[in-house]
């Protein structure tokens, strides 16, 4: 994978809004942004109600994903362009699902909603209805998904990348600073995880930094690209952004997103936790 296959610019997107076989999809946790204005023709996916299982703590399974895409009118042969707010966190999370369930052609819009809005590109409120399809999802590719036992086993052996803010990593904050801090789980990070906040990979307008800058950021942080890598954050969406950078832009192999992330790990009984700004010992 590379930037050419995984990413499109806002200029490209605006020129291809009506292109046949191209479907724009806005993904957010709070879809009220979509309702106040979206890219013409874009359908919406709600991170919580569409992409999470309503009962179990897990995301939608193969059948649920196929039913969702069929209902939204997305076909297996469509080129899907994902974008959203929060610097494309939830769009990157959805990108990871599309890859996990074997969609052939999916890309992120560089800069997401923020770049689009700051550029003053057009947004519309027209309702979008696409004819239903018969989408077929593939069996999940778990080579890109890490579970808790793998994370514990990776301590001191694989690259663990904590992409939360430095204060969350050190245990001084329990959640991103736009959310209240009262949470059930313990504070800190997985011992031996390096701290590379997701935001290091993005410019302030939400676009990704250049490949050269990105390579330097992870090399300077001590990421050994000959080893397997697991990225995590709090709920798995910021780490999808970093998974996207490492695997889809820089072409690393064996990168997994731990979607359970700190809300799971920080609640586990008996696992090691490190506090402070240093990775800590295995």
């Amino acid at each position: 994978m590379s930037r050419d296959t995984a990413l499109v610019s806002a200029e490209w997107a605006e020129k291809n809004i009506d292109a046949p076989g191209v479907v724009f999809v806005e993904v957010d946790e709070d879809t009220s942004a979509y309702d106040t204005g979206h890219i013409a023709g874009a359908v919406k996916l709600d991170w919580r109600t569409d992409l999470q299982d309503p009962v179990r703590r897990d995301f939608v399974n193969q059948d649920q994903f196929a039913a969702l895409l069929s209902e939204r009118g997305i076909g297996n042969d469509d080129t899907v362009i994902l974008y959203g707010g929060n610097n494309n966190w939830f769009a990157a999370y959805a990108y990871w699902y599309f890859k996990l369930y074997g969609h052939r052609d999916v890309k992120l819009l560089d800069g997401g909603r923020k770049k689009w809005e700051l550029d003053a590109r057009p947004l519309v409120t027209d309702p979008v209805q696409r004819p239903a399809t018969q989408y077929v999802a593939q069996a999940p590719d778990i080579s890109i998904r890490a579970f808790r036992d793998e994370v514990v086993a990776a301590i001191g052996t694989k690259n663990l990348v904590d992409v939360r803010s430095p204060d969350e990593y050190a245990g001084r904050l329990l959640a991103p600073a736009h959310l209240p801090q009262e949470q059930a789980q313990r504070a800190g990070h997985v011992p031996t995880a390096i701290s590379v906040p997701w935001s290091k990979a993005a410019n302030e307008d939400g676009t990704f930094k250049s490949d050269d800058e990105l390579r330097r950021i992870y090399a300077d942080a001590g990421l050994d690209d000959s080893r397997e890598t697991i990225a995590y954050c709090r709920i798995g969406e910021r780490s999808s952004h970093t998974w996207f950078v490492l695997q889809e832009l820089l072409g690393h192999r064996n990168v997994k997103n731990y979607d359970g992330s700190w809300t799971e790990y920080g609640s586990l009984v008996g696992v090691p936790v490190a506090l402070g700004d240093e990775p800590g010992e295995a």
């Binding site: 957010d28 946790e29 709070d30 009220s32 942004a33 991170w47 919580r48 707010g85 929060n86 610097n87 966190w89 939830f90 923020k114 809005e117 700051l118 003053a120 803010s165 430095p166 204060d167 001084r172 904050l173 959640a175 991103p176 600073a177 736009h178 959310l179 209240p180 801090q181 009262e182 949470q183 059930a184 906040p197 935001s199 302030e204 307008d205 954050c233 709090r234 709920i235 969406e237 910021r238 809300t263």
Partner: protein, 107 residues
């Protein structure tokens, strides 16, 4: 309007009242307005909370009346606002409770 929940990671409605369950003895709330040089409120601005080293900590979009709100910790922070009308920065030293700040943007 919905109260912030632990389930997600997106920013809650920036104009919503603070949740009743919020303990202001414990929380450090940094809140305020983004305004243009004319003094007019700027809705839809992207406000970034940067820590004392300048590292990104969080980002929200201002409400239709230009409001933003963060839940941080006591200490030194920088607020940086990006908008179609220009950008601006304001430094803040926050303590527990509510800290009110205005960020002015200019081209």
């Amino acid at each position: 309007m919905t109260a912030p929940t632990a389930a997600g990671c997106a920013a809650p409605d920036q104009a919503a009242p603070l949740p009743a369950s919020l303990d202001l003895e414990k929380e450090t709330v940094i809140t305020g307005l983004v305004t243009a040089e004319s003094g007019e409120a700027v809705p839809g601005a992207y406000v970034r909370l940067l820590d004392s080293t300048g590292e990104f900590t969080a980002e929200v979009v201002t409400s239709p009346t230009g409001q933003f709100r963060f839940f941080a910790a006591p200490g030194s922070w920088t607020l940086r606002a990006l908008s179609r009308h220009g950008n601006g920065d304001t430094a803040v030293t926050a303590a527990r409770g509510i800290n009110e700040v205005t960020v002015t943007v200019a081209a």
